[in-house]
Amino acid sequence: MHEHALARSILDAAIRHSGGHRVAQIDVAVGALRQVVPDSLAFHFEILARETPCAGARLEQHLRPARLRCACGEEWELAEPSFRCPRCDGAQVRVTDGEQLLVESIEIEEAPCIAPR
């Protein structure tokens, strides 16, 4: 259910950067470790966006797999939630990707400039 609060934050960020224009698309990077359910996020976003400049906007979710790096040098993509190194069994493991929840960009609709030269 955190998708509701996250959708609201995404909406706020998009409107803040829209400069008063209608927003046609929002591109969001969603790290696999954030436990976001994509359909749920889209559902909440659609409802919250009604009667805002983001009404009907496309919410493009780019899923980023989780990547980890161990102090021993091993790097791997996380397939199941195991944060010990598969090579050395160590716990000096750093998440290098997959923790982000980022509004990357928005696409706004602008009227073409028709002012005479």
Binding site: M1, H2, H4, A5, L6, S9, I10, D12, A13, A14, H17, S18, G19, A24, Q25, V28, L33, R34, Q35, E80, P81, S82, F83, R84, A91, V93, Q100, L101, L102, V103, E104, S105, I106, E107, I108, E109, E110, A111, P112
Partner: protein, 230 residues
């Protein structure tokens, strides 16, 4: 109409993080250390707090003035239980004004700050809304996080809710008095916990019998006497 792409590059949780930092600054100014206590509904968060705070918190450096901020969707049942211990308890409901949110966020906690006797406190325990997903996402200005995981929830919970288990500084494994009656392997749970959060400290506790509660109380008192990280 033509479309223009606008770069945003903004963390979705930025707004929450900013308010959480403001909360943290207020807590630091008042010299209060803050524990965010999380766990599933019915895991025993309130019961463990009751047991740990009964008779007062203290360590070798003396007694600790502790207060509780009680987060619930509705009602004040838990706050009423804790107020019997004569510790200051402030109720924060997410239902009116916050849309019945299933977690506390930094802004909700900020709204409760004026009601908290911060100047009198050394430690504030924020009991979050019972939930294993959402509270993990939202920092509220805490110094440390503890979670209660009870053995009746099954051994697989760390694997199903890795974000919660990964962001905790202490895991309280509650209801161990029920182990003889359950098809539950503590070894499997600890193995799953180790996979998700290698090395995280844990305490085996029973809020019912009091086993292990002293270790939790000691941990709380030690947090109160930690210096604010600079």
């Amino acid at each position: 109409m033509h479309r223009t792409k606008v770069r945003v590059a903004e963390d979705v949780l930025d707004a929450n993080a900013t308010i959480a930092r403001a909360n943290r600054a207020d807590f630091d100014r008042a010299g209060v250390r803050v524990v965010n206590l999380m766990g599933a509904p019915g895991a025993g968060k309130t019961a463990l707090l009751e047991r740990a705070l009964a008779g007062g918190l203290s360590d070798e450096r003396g007694s600790v003035q502790v207060g509780v901020l009680e987060g619930d969707v509705q009602g004040s049942l838990d706050a009423e239980r804790l107020s019997l211990l004569h510790v200051p308890v402030t109720q924060l409901n997410t239902d009116p004004g916050f849309g019945g949110e299933c977690h506390l966020d930094a802004n909700m906690v900020r709204s409760a700050l004026p009601a908290l006797p911060l100047e009198e406190l050394e430690l504030l325990v924020i009991e979050n809304v019972g939930n294993l997903v959402c509270p993990a996402e939202f920092r509220v200005g805490e110094d440390v996080r503890a979670m209660v995981c009870s053995v009746t929830e099954g051994e697989d919970k760390p694997l199903k809710y890795p974000l919660m288990f990964r962001t905790c500084d202490l895991v309280l494994i509650n209801k161990i008095d029920l182990l003889p009656h359950l098809d539950f392997s503590l070894e499997v749970l600890l193995g799953n916990l180790d996979r998700v959060h290698p090395g995280v400290p844990y305490v085996l506790v029973s809020a019912r019998t009091g086993e292990g509660v002293g270790a939790f109380a000691d941990w709380l008192a030690a947090r109160a006497h930690e210096r604010a990280p600079t």
